[in-house]
Structures are given as C-alpha cells and as structure tokens.
Symmetry: C2
Subunit: 437 residues, 2 copies
C-alpha cells in the first residue's frame, strides 16, 4: 500500500467536524478511490474542550494553526477557520511555502488573496483546492477547472446565496413580506443575526468572482462586480413576475461582452420554465453557457455541514491521487486583468414597476419618455393586482408595469429620471433586470 496522505485540519466547526466524520466513515472507499489512505493526523481549533461529537482522543491537538500548517508530519493543510484575515491567511501562506497542499472553503480569503495564493501554490508545485468555497456541495469548481476544460464559456450565472433564495422563495410561495421571511430565515439558522452580507449580495459577489476567474481566465476582482441586494423586492414584484411568466432570483452573472467581462449580482427575472427558476429554498444552482452547446446546469446544496464537508473531502481525495491543476484553471501568470464592462452599458430587458398618479396623460407621458430613449416595450399593464372589478371609488396611484425589449441600463435610467421629473409617479420606480435563459 502506498503511504497515506497525512492531513492537518484547522477549524472544527460544523464543516470541520463533518470532514473528520466523513473521512472516518468512508475510510475504505476513499482509500480505494485514491489508491492510498487519507489520515487526519492533527487538528487545531479555538477551543479544545468543546463537545463536537468527535472522539478527540484520536486526534493529535495542535494549539496554533500556524504550527499545524508547517508541521512536518502533514502533507496537506485543510483550512476551515474562515475569515479573510489571519490566522487563515497566514497559516495557508505558511503551509504553501512549506510545500504542503492546501484545501480551503474560505471564499472571502480567496476573493481577496486568491491570485497571490494560487501563485504561491504554483511556485511550490502543490495544490490549492477550494470546491467548498462556492455552492457548498455542488462540484462547480471541478466542473469549470477540469470538466469543461475545452469549452469556450460565454456566460455563467447562478443562485449563489441560499439565504436570499430562501427569502425570495418564501415571499413568493407564501405571499409574505421581506421582513417576515428574513425573520423566519434567521429563526431557522439560514440567515445571520446581521444578515446584510447575504441579503445585500456581497456573499454572492465573492463567489461570483471565483467562478468568473475560472470561466474566463481573468484575475479575481470582486471590486469589478456591480452588486445589488434583495431588500427592495416587494411581494407585488413577485406577483407580477408570476403573471408575466417569470420568477425573481438573486443571480450572480458573469458574461463575456464586446465591452469586456460584465460581472453583476442583482435580483433578476428568469423565465419560469428555466432550470434555474425551479430552484427553491436554500438550494443553489449554476448554469454555464458555452460556445456551440446547450447550457449545463448544476443544482444542489449550497451550504450545510455534510454537503460542504463532502466537497472538502473530494478536494483532499484529488490531492491524495496526485491531481494538481492550476487553482484558477490557468497558470496565474496567464490570468488576464478583467476588463470591466461598465454597468451603464449593460444590455437586456427590464421589468419596471411604477406607481402612476391617477390623472389623464400619465401613461402617455411615461410612454413618451421611454420612446425618447428608443426603448421598445414588450408589454405594458396598468391596473391593480387582484380580482378585477374592484371599487372605482378608491382613486389612488395605479401600478404600471412595463417590460422592455433589450435596451441599455443607461437608457432606462435616463428615461426613469425624466419620468420622475415629470411628477407623474409616486415614490421610487422599481427596476429588475431580465436575464435571458
């Protein structure tokens, strides 16, 4: 039998403890699949005494993750502590410099230091694997890095944040407000006490930056991403979406355009019959469009201890069997600076919901402002939602729903600014981009 792969594991939270259990439980199969056993020889975590349901006597304890990272007894360092700063960053750096392969689930760290760490891994001829950093249990990194090695990818988009998808699904299915659904998500542990990182789209943006790099061979650049969260979505938007044949999802989208790589995270209307529209609750999904072939979609758990752990274990297994691919698919020196396509020049269809003041000429004014920006309308609906034939006495503002054909972000923004100046609408217009799929 070949010598075992010796793993040092830093971080024993839900995922870390699941990794220990999975490697123990699947010992024989992993050994067969990799041609050698995988052994966790030492662990490190903040608190030694905490009950994790693990037999800690079997695991050699190393108090300091930095010490573990360079421990001569390990071949591979698994970082599951999290956080974009130290000790995660310093210990991964130390491990790579000491010639040890690294597995991490740390998307924040990768979004910030990914290219530098990948260069370090290359220099020391070791692996840097991070399947668990994006979409938990879905093998999307492997698919992009190896499975579609020969495909010319034109677009990649997906539901990258389970919290947002849970909230939007629940708002749609139970016609509850955003706040009520957020509270429920918090109660169930799907959202943090401070949910802003998720609901404002930053979590999805970090993941998108990793996917975009793998798909397009660009250097990670989270700052190049236009980010808009889901807090402005109203149940009315979900009902209109349904009526128009769409669902609303928070998507991360990276697409090759003539102007560069467009990267954006925002609430998006997707056709109801598309695979991604079916994805409800905390589930994640990613669709890949490549030149000359129909789209490929991967759907699965975006989080959860066992799902994430299974990706960590498959990363460790790849190292055990000697696979070492460039972390971002290409040598870091060949990653190109991402040419950012400015959001004003984004082109696509738009859903616009306005509250029109109920006076003569309003519709004509709105239509004229759009025409001035050469925006063509696929549909326009002016009425209250709900059963027809309601009382006509209540003459409040009337919702006007516009769906445009492909136009530019700039044109839409200008038209809406003009409509606002015309004082024919109440409040802020709602604007949701439509993604063709």
């Amino acid at each position: 039998m070949v010598a075992p792969l010796k793993v040092g594991l830093a971080g024993l939270g839900t995922v870390g403890a699941s990794v220990v259990r999975l490697i123990e439980r699947q010992r024989d199969v992993l050994s067969q699949r990799c041609g050698r056993p995988i052994e966790i020889v030492a662990v490190s975590a903040r608190s030694r005494g905490k009950d994790r349901g693990l037999d800690m006597r079997k695991l050699r304890w190393v108090a300091d993750p930095m010490t573990l990272a360079t421990d001569p007894a390990i071949d591979t360092f698994v970082e599951l502590m999290g956080g974009e700063g130290d000790p995660a960053h310093s210990s991964i750096t130390a491990a790579l410099k000491a010639g040890k392969s690294v597995v991490t689930a740390n998307k924040a760290l990768l979004a910030r230091h990914g290219v530098a760490l990948a260069a370090l891994a290359e220099k020391h001829r070791v692996a840097l694997n991070f399947e668990a950093a994006v979409c938990g249990g879905i093998p999307i990194i492997k698919t992009l890095r190896e499975g579609l090695a020969g495909n010319a990818i034109t677009r990649i988009y997906g539901i990258l944040n389970g919290t947002c998808n849970y909230i939007l699904s629940k708002m749609e299915q139970e016609k509850l407000s955003f706040d009520a659904c957020l509270k429920e998500a918090q109660r169930l542990g799907y959202a943090e006490a401070d949910p802003s990182f998720d609901i404002e789209g930053h979590d999805a943006a970090q993941k998108l930056s990793i996917l975009a790099s793998l798909a397009f061979g660009t250097r990670l650049d989270p700052k190049a991403i236009y980010v808009e969260g889901i807090t402005s979505i109203d149940t009315a938007d979900l009902e209109w979406a349904d009526e128009l044949g769409y669902r609303i999802k928070l998507l991360g989208v990276a697409v090759k355009t003539a102007k560069g790589i467009e990267q954006r995270v925002h609430p998006t209307m997707v056709r109801k019959d598309s695979p991604i529209a079916q994805v409800m609750g905390v589930t994640n999904a990613v669709t890949i469009d490549a030149d000359g072939i129909p789209p490929i979609t991967l759907v699965g758990p975006g989080a959860g201890g066992m799902a994430t752990a299974s990706s960590v274990v498959s990363d460790i297994a790849d190292i055990a069997r000697g696979l070492r691919a460039p972390p971002f698919g290409r040598p870091t020196a060949r990653l190109t600076a991402s040419r950012k396509a400015p959001m004003q020049r984004h082109e696509g269809g738009y859903y616009i919901r306005l509250l029109a003041k109920d006076k003569p000429g309003t519709a004509a004014t709105i239509a004229r402002r759009l025409a001035q920006q050469s925006i063509s309308l696929e549909s326009i609906v002016q009425r209250h939602l709900g059963p027809a034939g309601g009382s006509s006495e209540k003459r409040g503002p009337v919702p006007v729903i516009l769906v445009t054909y492909a136009t530019s972000e700039d044109a839409v923004r200008k038209a809406l600014a003009a409509v606002k100046r015309d004082r024919v609408i109440s409040g802020e217009p709602q604007l949701i981009r439509i993604e063709k799929n």
Copy 2:
C-alpha cells in the same frame, strides 16, 4: 514548454470532427489549462475523401484503426467509431496493451467490456476515460469518479435518453400521440430509422450500468437491469399525471436497498416540482442522492456533436495534465459483483390506469382485490378526462385511476391479475411506477 500530448483519433463522424475543431480552436486555453499542448497527430476513419469541413491535409491519415492504436507517435488513443465489437474493441485493447491512454464515447462497448478494459488500463498504468459515453456534455462521470469521492451514494437516477424525453415532452405539451411524436423525432434526427434501441430503454440501460458501477462500486452488469420502454405510454397517462401533480419521464434508476442494488429503466412519475421534471426535450439530467446531503442534479445536453466533443476534450485534457483515476472509481479488483435486487420486490408507489366496465360493483371489486394484497390507496378517480358534464348516453368503459402508497411490485401484479380474472376491466391495465424525489 513540456512535450505535447500526442493524440490519435479514430472515427471522424459528427463527434470526431467536432473534437478536431475544438482542439484547434481552444489550442491556447487547453495548453494553459493542462500545462502542455494537445496535438492530434493522426486520424483514422472509414472514408478519407468525405467532406467533414476539416482541412484533412493537416491530419496524418492512418487507414487502419488498429495500426493507429499502436502507432509509436501517439500517447493517447481516442476511439469514436462506436459499436461494441471490432474494430472499436480490438483497437482499444491494443492501445491499452501498448501503454497508451484511451478516451472513448462508446457506451455499448463499456457496458459489455468495461471491467476487462479497466483492468487492462490499470495493469498498464494508463487512463481509460469515457465522459462522453453517458449524457453527452454533462460532466457526470467526473462528478461521480472524483467530485463525490467521499460521498456514500444511496441512489442515482436520471433522464439518460434524449429521444425518449423528446417524445414524452412533445406528447405532453402538444397532446400528440406517441407515433406522431416519434415520427417528428425521426424527422429532426433525434431518433434513428429503427428507434427500438432508444424507445425500448436499452440505450438508457447501458448508460445506467456505467453510472451504477461508479456510484456503488459494483461490476457493470447490464443484464441485471429491469428494462421497460415508453411505447405503451398514452397521452391519457400524461394528462392524468399532470392532474395528479406529476410528469412522466423515462428514468434510469439505481438504488441501494436492503436486498441489493436495484437497477431499472422504465417510465416513471416524478413530482412536477422536482428538478428532473423540468427537463424537457432532448436534454438529459442526473440526480444523485448521498447520505446526509440534499440531492445534487446535473442538467445538460445528452447528445450533439459539440456537446459530446467537449466531454471528449475534457477527458483528453485530464490525460494531458497527468490525472489517472480508476476508470470505475475503484480498482477493478475491488468492484463487487452487483447483488441484483429482484424487480418483484421493488417497493414504491404506483399509478394504475384501468378501463372499468360500466356496471355496478366494478369499483368495489377493484378495491377489494387491492385490499387483499394490503395495498393502500392514496387516491382513486373514476371519470372521463376532459370537460365535465359530457353526454351520459355514451356508456363505454370508464377510466379508473388509482395511485397507491408504497407497496411491492409483486403485490400490484397479483392484484391486477385478480382484477383481470374478475372481468371487470377492458384491455390491459397501465402501470407506471412513482419515484420519490
């Protein structure tokens, strides 16, 4: 620069020609991704002169695939001729024995000779890759072989045949007969002139045998698969399925049961809101259930020149970067004989459609026969489909639709045999298994 990987390619049909084009077009990216260039140094095909839209002058021609397979100038042999016999079998065998890695898209060959060829590849320490053999452009082989290396898979099922899914989708969406949809599939090139291999489920069965081996570590055994095609499906079944909240798909299912591995291909009712139910047309999809994690579903093109070629190229790229995993996930010596779970002992829900003679006591008789086999009913409907209030003058047989709770195949068969003996129904009962998902 490291020496290029030198490829010999036998078979220049749609897929083969697409492989040549893709490797040419993606030359630089592939070289970056693999750390070395990939070069097609020689080709072989039945007819040299045929116009394939390729510049054949660039490609060294070898008339005999056997000669190409052992050509000292190649490292890797790509077999895209098809057929489970020779020259595919003999040339792959020769290539492996000559120490060359092999890529093939040949599911029929693998279903029959897969284990022996895998053993040969192991012996000579070369790769045997076949991503394109199952679900064309979907990276399902890589996902099972590497991506879920640590997962204990409990069930794998999917839409493995695009022809059948096209026909069933069209029957459902356009309310056309099976024959009309088959003709249309033939016209569009989705079905062969002799469609039986597809529509009777044999194509799906070959693919399922490969997936089951990778998922469960069993030796391929296409004969262990229960196979039933889609020719008996009536538009009435699709309409009832819709009314009951299901869709009908031809699924290949491999599942671990206490009695062994159950492998079956048959028309299946799947819940309308499941990811797999959304898959329409020639698209393929596979869902993987593993212990302790939510299901993972992969959706994408099951056929087509470029889609299949992209899988062939990713297999070649893996060889170029030095990856060599056991073809069926584990060393062939560790593959276990598949303990076949007999179909009579299959347990699940059933949809049953009977044509009941319109006379008193019929429903009672049917209900009694089911009760005698301890079958509980989730629902029973006795009426003609279509708008209510039709003429009552036409007193023909009345459709009775039964949906059972989980029971055994054996019990259902016995109950229906008794109902037939009772002479209360016309014609043959329709039986469609329900798959929980």
